[in-house]
Amino acid sequence: MTTETTPEATGTAAPDAALLAIRDLHVTYATGEGGLPAVRGVDLTVARGQIVGVAGESGCGKSTLASTVLRLQPPSATVSGQVLFDGRDVLAMRWGELRAVRWAGASIVFQGALHSLNPVHRIGAQLAEPMHIHQPGLDEARVTERVAELLDQVGMAPERAKSYPHQLSGGQKQRVMIAMALACDPELVVADEPTTALDVMVQAQVLNVLSELVRGRGVGMMMISHDLSVLADLCDRITVMYAGRVIEEGPADQVFAAPLHPYSGALSAAFPRVGDPAARFAPAGLPGDPPDPRNLTEGCSFAPRCPRAAPVCLHDEPGLVAYDDRAAACVRIGEPDLEAR
């Protein structure tokens, strides 16, 4: 994958060389009632060996962001900006080039993967499919061997290759989906809610598998979740999205433990720390519902639900402002804690 990279990228094989760089990405869906802006100017960087979390609620644009990385967005979407994979813009690639990047360069584990396996094919055949497509020269014995390796990597017995999806539990199906994403040795894995709908114990097993892959093989990962606590546990950095924009970005532990933006604060408090006396009989919520991208208010999109909204928030949409190693988009940061409205 290094053949076509720019000189400066090859020159710095340091961990900070960006594997994925999303620059000012906008994605708008065409609907019957006009444009629906799902992603509104997102910047995001993933380095090799790094896990970057994207947090947010339904409708915040995080899944659109994930699919756009591999140009898998629906045809009704208008996209602008850049998605640089190893320095090359995925959005501007010709079909052949894009096809090579998908699976072999970057792969995606979709949300609801429990239902995306083909029920009438054996697991082994489904794992072999991307290899047949992207590495046509590979002989059958090697493919079988590779399928066994992949199952082993995600902690499953190689005999499972003979199983059909209905013979597997939810956690096992999810592992198969991860194994499939690894089939062609990608450099980047995009995981959209890889543990949603899994039990805590199975979630812990799947997260262990993912983090070993990243740490062990230097793969870069973009992981999307609504659960900030899961991201804080696994990721190096977290990007928090609201209404299609990034409202906070920073080191994972800091974003979770000491969020700057009031919305990150609410997300963080929604998953209480067991044992924290402050959370006993005090579930933390936010009034109101997540915004409808079709009817975004003027000013800060979070202002209608924000406990600290000021009059200025209703008119001006704040941009991301850097604070040391972090950034957040809120005019109230740094102000003394004002009385909530």
């Binding site: 609620e57 339904s58 539990s169 939810g170 956690g171 039990d199 805590v200 114990m201 199975v202 979630q203 812990a204 097993q205 262990n208 609504h226 659960d227 900030l228 606590s229 899961v230 804080a232 546990d233 696994l234 919305y263 609410a266 997300l267 408090a269 929604a270 998953f271 209480p272 720390r273 067991v274 044992g275 924290d276 959370a279 006993r280 009989f281 005090a282 579930p283 933390a284 919520g285 936010l286 009034p287 519902d289 997540p290 639900r305």
Partner: protein, 347 residues
Amino acid sequence: MTPEPSTGPSNGASKGHSAELSTSGLRVQFATRGGRVARALDGADLVLRAGEVVALVGESGSGKTTLARSLVGLTAPAAGEIRWEGKALERSGRGLKRLRRQVQLVLQDPSGALNPRHTVYESVAEGLRIHKLVSGSGRTEAELVAQALSSAGLRPPEALFLRYPHELSGGQRQRVLIAGALAVSPKLLIADEPVSSLDASIRGEILALLLKLREELGLGVLVVTHDLGLAWNIADRIAVMYLGRIVETGPTEEVLTSPQHPYTQALLSVIPEVERLEPVVLTGEIPDPTRIPPGCRFHPRCPALASGEASGVADACRGTALPILSGDPGGHRCSCHLVSSREVVSS
């Protein structure tokens, strides 16, 4: 709707049998296609009273939903007993109807549980009509529906009367389901995963609503969940289930800050927020309920047995079945040979 005088978190418990739902040795079995019998619920004792919030936690396949459903008579038990207000539950149509007037189930998945062709008003009024509660109340049906909606935090209620489920947000749908349950003024609410399909920021609002209903109406709530953080947020008591049995039960603070059962300890150690514990990731998944392991049902996955910590009681773990934990609401109990052996030694 006749709200009871506000009862605090604890004093609702001192009313004897007045509003108490209990099970003893409850078993539910399902026949599988292969002819084997799945023991989905394999002996459970649980007591639920007005004015308290109890969390029933476990992974999928632990039997928690089966227990919740059998509490309102939706699943017929194979053995054991359900008692309501001190009397054994009659499994006749009338007996169940009487029970469901007092004990309401709120289903998980708010988008699937509401009839898409019914307006909010019709959904909430359904219970009032089934139980014929309007005529004796001295109020109109619309007033009762409005009251239930506003108790569930949907204000102004009239604005929602003619809305259909698809016009509502996830949080609003969950509130409509709760309003439907509240309309018949029950004493107990059984909520199966009330927030699992909701967004993070909505979750806290719904949990706060359950606590408010406990405070203001003296309602008892059984929350069925896989989420220990949720239990920490709102539950007075907690019961941890594994493969059809309750394996540990007690006050939430005690169970979650000093868990005794190796399964509870492992569950707590893997939730991302708990950093003070070394993660114990159990291998495999809950076994098939048609093949419950002999001895302690947790022993094939038990980290204490695997590490040798439980070597003194290993034979018992593998061969001696454990008794069903008492459902008595007081005290912290756990069903584990290792823990019992320590208690014998220390006393």
